[in-house]
Chain length 155, copies 2
């Protein structure tokens, strides 16, 4: 069973070239990558997702995971989080929301403070950029890392 979904045209789009036929095919691999990503709230990295997906598709390649995460992010199906740390992370929740990253272990969680959409307008007013979006990243110490380091005082 193959489903097509229309592209959620994000970033730059040349109006003259917008073909009506650029749809993404939902292959087994894409389906399962998406399902596994949607299952968790942990914002996994590509290789974490690879491990999750391999339990259901043992023969999938890491390159396939990378390629499709990239593709799905371009199509607005998922979010590619370019947060601190060495690896990119992915998020099946595409509504704008903010994140916090643990400075101890790198774990990333959602922060449920209200989104400030008018920040973009403010930024646009104060710069010569064409402002497209924004995101807020908090840093802190996750509960588990606090527990591990009771002797350490954070300031």
């Amino acid at each position: 069973m193959i489903i097509f979904i229309p592209p959620a045209t994000s970033t730059p789009v040349n109006i003259m070239e917008t073909k009506p036929d650029n749809m993404i095919r939902i292959t087994t691999q894409r389906q399962i990558i998406l399902e596994e990503l949607a299952k968790v709230k942990t914002h996994p990295t590509a290789s974490e997702l690879y491990d999750m997906v391999r339990k259901r598709l043992p023969r999938i390649g890491l390159g396939t995971v990378y390629r499709n995460l990239e593709l799905m992010a371009e199509n607005g199906m998922i979010l590619k989080l370019e947060v601190g740390g060495t690896q990119k992370r992915f998020d099946a929740t595409t509504d704008t929301h903010y994140h916090i990253r643990c400075s101890g272990c790198g774990r990333v969680d959602d922060i449920d403070t209200p989104v400030m959409d008018d920040l973009v307008k403010e930024a646009a007013a104060s710069s010569s950029y064409l402002v497209q979006g924004h995101h807020v990243e908090f840093t802190g110490v996750c509960p588990s890392c606090q527990e591990k380091n009771k002797d350490v005082t954070y300031q």
Copy 2:
């Protein structure tokens, strides 16, 4: 001439072990890396900085640049920006401020909207993390990339 500067104790600090003698030595290399970084507002990457520094210190190694940028960031002398894109960027301005990254060329500029310090309190209230800080990153298209792509419509 060697100058010592005291460490701007940032992140985790064990009060019991805070030695009074952990100072960073300002070697020629460190001095020049810092000077070159302070000269620009472009938030250069390590290798861009390497190229700048090499004009004054032709024999310096790329590893030295990485090592010292890391060290100076740990000591709060500079900022290590973990923004989107493939490379880390550095900033001699250590006061909290926000940035915008061009989705076309990766360039990073300052955004001069007021810093919202109370965001950290809000985040702390709504999560079990010990919240330490925050930063806001806007994305957009820089003037030069707008010029280059007049035919493209951004939305």
